[in-house]
Symmetry: C2
Subunit: 145 residues, 2 copies
DNA sequence: ATCTAATTGAAATTCAAAAACAATGATCGG
DNA sequence: CCGATCATTGTTTTTGAATTTCAATTAGAT
């Protein structure tokens, strides 16, 4: 298993793009944070390390990292795009509490298999999918009564 | 089965909101179009019937219709929120071609059941879910070779 | 009919994301 | 080493969907 840094470097080389200190640093920061970060969040952390970095660079790098397959964008339906590492980790989906925002990562092979099968039935090659389950967690459900 | 118009009227009454000609007309237009419309699309159609209608009213009404459970918002990952009627129709998810935008509605009871089960396993009450399968349709896959 | 709170359209505002731009930096062949 | 080329940067501006503000209007209960 190659290091994420190397995967990124390879991706850039392949596309005739360049590895820069900024890109290196942004990936590095992301690897250390690793949560469900928004671009804004990441910008904040990156800025702590290097005051001079620009917000656009963070946006641009996140797009590159997404294209390289290292990270994936998430949509929790709150108007902000978040990102998470996907390289080297098992794929998973998300179960989100609409009340408190609690977020549980879930994985179900039955569902994954059926997704593949469904796509195939319609002549599609499945590239990726997004599945979000929205509900109320135990605590919030009880509060509501 | 009540008419959508009545469902909406009831919803508004329940919330102490008012039925207005604009709201009536927007719902009516939506019922006739029925596709995967964006707010912009709908605004265009509505405007043809009544020049004087404001864009904000369309946004506002779409929100109300969503809250009333008549329609649902869709995210095809192209930056525009689309809407579709869900009242009176079976729930379904979407299989989207990333190349040409072709959009197939899918339904799989195995997946639906597992979703419920997964939520329950984590103590959640499932309210709704979104599942999008992104891939390449047969035509576009062949074109790519 | 009256009254009050909801609603309207127009305009202004928000906000994340993208683009424009001039300056900087890397990489290459010669 | 040099200069040409092209990607990259940070700043600033722009975009575009969506929301808010506001004064004027209107629905609908009493």
């Amino acid at each position: 298993m190659k290091r994420p840094q190397d995967v990124f470097a390879n991706y850039l080389a392949e596309k005739n793009l360049k590895m820069t200190p900024q890109r290196r640093m942004i990936l590095d920061t992301l690897l250390k944070q690793n949560d469900h970060l928004s671009s804004e969040d990441l910008y904040y952390h990156v800025k702590k390390r290097d005051k001079s970095i620009g917000q656009a660079t963070v946006y641009r790098t996140l797009k590159l990292l997404t294209d390289s397959g290292l990270i994936d964008s998430l949509d929790f339906a709150d108007g902000v795009t978040r990102y998470e590492m996907t390289y080297g980790t098992d794929h998973h989906d998300h179960l989100i509490c609409e009340q408190c925002g609690k977020n549980i990562e879930i994985l179900d092979s039955t569902i994954e298999n059926r997704q593949e099968a469904l796509a195939k039935e319609h002549g599609f090659t499945l590239l990726r999918h997004k599945m979000y389950l929205y509900g109320l967690c135990e605590k919030c459900r009880n509060k509501k009564i």
